[in-house]
């Protein structure tokens, strides 16, 4: 709280005007529209709308396609979070041992943050191309017939790898910062007591890293829920057989291609509820961290 302030009645509103105008026109109003639409049913020609209460939501949670999409999203989120955080933690632990080469390694690992998810998707799509890609070629030698156009597991693996690859850099930076924040004296004390590197990791380092891990978990779940839309759209388009149709992709397909506005709006509202929950968790965690 500032003690010294300026006294003006109109000026602060003028300063806030651009931000509030954009927020209202492009955020609050459309979100309100989505919420309203989720209680309405419109016929195919847009001639008649009627209030249907919670019918759109009820239909949504009875729809096997939506339940499938929920399940796909959970599998996808967990897989990406585990793969990208696990790899990043391994790299971070290795960098933490380095003295002079740490900076060079960091630069070489961090740059994919700047690569757009869509581009990451296209590159891995190329690598896994069933006809000419290098990975199917190698897998074929190992006796596995890769085809993400037909096989649902292959498609999921493809989008998980593409999404994780891009996220490693971010997790890596935060894990390195987290490791550096652990006092060396703690690890030294454990070493003097005879704990080897592995035991030290599990009893000292990893527990002290848990705030970072938890924070990254929330960030990664948010990332897989929303920012991976381009990966799906640029590669599998939700297929084959709905196996990679994550929630945000389904909202887009139902709203823009299927033109099922009521259902799409209800799905938007469900997604908003998820983001609100995640943001609340994130902010609670940060409040606790400040107290430390």
């Amino acid at each position: 709280m500032k003690r010294t302030i300026f006294g003006h009645r109109l000026l602060p509103w003028l300063l806030l005007f651009p931000q509030l105008a954009v927020t209202f026109v492009f955020f609050l109003w459309p979100a309100g529209q989505a919420a309203r639409q989720s209680f309405l049913r419109e016929d195919a020609f847009g001639l008649k709308t009627e209030f249907v209460g919670l019918a759109n939501y009820a239909a949504l949670f009875r729809d096997p396609l939506y339940l499938n999409s929920l399940q796909v999203t959970v599998v996808f989120s967990v897989a990406v979070a585990v793969l990208s955080m696990g790899t990043a933690l391994l790299f971070a632990l290795a960098v933490d041992r380095m003295l002079r080469s740490a900076r060079a390694y960091t630069t070489l690992i961090v740059w994919p943050y700047a690569v757009a998810p869509a581009i990451a998707g296209i590159m891995w799509w190329f690598i896994f191309n069933p006809t000419i890609g290098i990975m199917p070629y190698l897998l074929d030698i190992a006796g596995y017939d890769w085809n993400h156009g037909i096989d649902t597991t292959d498609a999921m693996i493809l989008v998980v790898i593409a999404s994780s690859w891009k996220q490693i850099s971010y997790n890596f930076l935060f894990f390195v910062a987290g490791l550096q924040a652990i006092p060396a004296s703690l690890r030294e004390a454990a070493a003097i007591d005879g704990a080897g590197p592995v035991k030290r990791f599990f009893t000292v380092t990893f527990p002290l890293l848990s705030p970072t891990t938890f924070f990254l978990l929330v960030v990664n779940v948010t990332y897989t829920l929303f920012d991976t839309f381009p990966v799906i759209h640029a590669t599998t388009e939700g297929g084959p057989a709905q196996s990679t149709n994550i929630l945000v992709y389904k909202v887009f397909v139902d709203g823009f291609i299927g033109l099922n506005l009521g259902s799409s709006a209800a799905q938007s509202v469900v997604l908003m509820a998820i983001v609100i929950a995640l943001t609340a968790i994130q902010f609670r965690w940060i409040e606790r961290r400040v107290e430390y």
Partner: protein, 282 residues
């Protein structure tokens, strides 16, 4: 490092070298693909070493583009992406620093309501409200324009919070001194607050430039006129061909050009980038 363990140290180096290779692998293959002739992709396996057709591929893409998929020259796509990234970054910073100034340095009725309105944007990513937001932009006649590409994305709670944090750490004595010397609020803002937040602005700019450059869904919806396509959103149109293999050399050349500018920004401004990343997550 606690004790000397040469084996573990060697293992760490190996892990990191492997890591660097994994991270670079897809980009290397994309670059290699862009230097080969189209015939290299008809059968067998993709080449692993650069070919000799690179100059020609890039010249074709930059000059004429992929006419078969209705995509304009890469030069125009890159320019559109650049304009979009700059407008989003500058726009977000400008409106956020102004609103943070209003919230921190003034007391007015409904101040906390204004703060909450801004806070709520954190919870409403584009993906969640695409259909109605698209309708608003269409009704305003902003489809196929730079304004339509950027204005709906420039509200920023994160940037507002960041500047609020920065302003709260600026000592009150400075404000008092400025007021005693007769400076009005705008003069104080211009001559003291903005210069003091310079490194924060720069760090934020790096993050927001990358954010703007990498936008995908929004440009895809708002642009139907090839004149306004951005490079990241256009790549899908190039890769999508019916009944045939994509022209991989051209698609991969586009991918390389699309990631080059933001990757350079990260590498050349690594310090600012890390600062921005850590700050915007608070």
């Amino acid at each position: 490092m606690v004790e000397k363990r040469p084996f573990l140290h060697l293992l760490a180096h190996l892990v990191l070298i492997l890591g660097v290779l994994i991270v670079a692998f897809p980009v290397w293959l994309a670059f290699v693909a862009s230097t080969h002739e189209p015939t290299a992709f008809t059968s067998g396996v993709i080449p692993l070493l650069p070919g000799s057709n690179g100059v020609e591929t890039y010249a074709t893409m930059l000059g004429t583009g992929m006419s078969t998929s209705g995509a304009p020259p890469l030069g125009l796509l890159l320019w559109n992406s650049f304009v979009m990234a700059m407008l989003i970054a500058v726009g977000k910073i400008a409106i956020s620093i102004l609103s943070a100034f209003a919230i921190v340095y003034f007391r007015f009725p409904l101040r906390s309501l204004a703060f909450w309105c801004i806070f709520i944007t954190l919870m409403l990513p584009v993906e969640v409200r695409i259909v109605p937001t698209f309708k608003v932009v269409a009704d305003l006649g902003l489809l196929n324009s730079y304004a339509g590409l950027t204005v709906p994305l420039i509200a920023s709670a994160t940037a507002t919070f960041l500047f609020r944090q920065v302003f709260l750490t600026i000592p009150d004595e400075l404000t008092e001194a400025a007021r005693i010397d007769g400076a009005g609020p705008m003069k104080f803002f211009r001559d003291i607050l903005v210069p003091l937040s310079r490194t924060n602005i720069a760090a934020l700019f790096v993050i927001l430039f990358i954010y703007g450059w990498n936008q995908y869904l929004w440009p895809l919806l708002v642009t139907t006129d090839a004149k306004f396509y951005t490079v990241v959103a256009a790549i899908k149109r190039m890769a999508e061909v019916t009944d045939a293999q994509p022209q991989w050399n051209f698609v991969m050349a586009t991918a390389v050009m699309a990631m080059l500018p933001p990757v350079l920004v990260v590498i050349l401004m690594q310090r600012l980038f890390v600062k921005g990343l850590v700050e915007t997550e608070k």
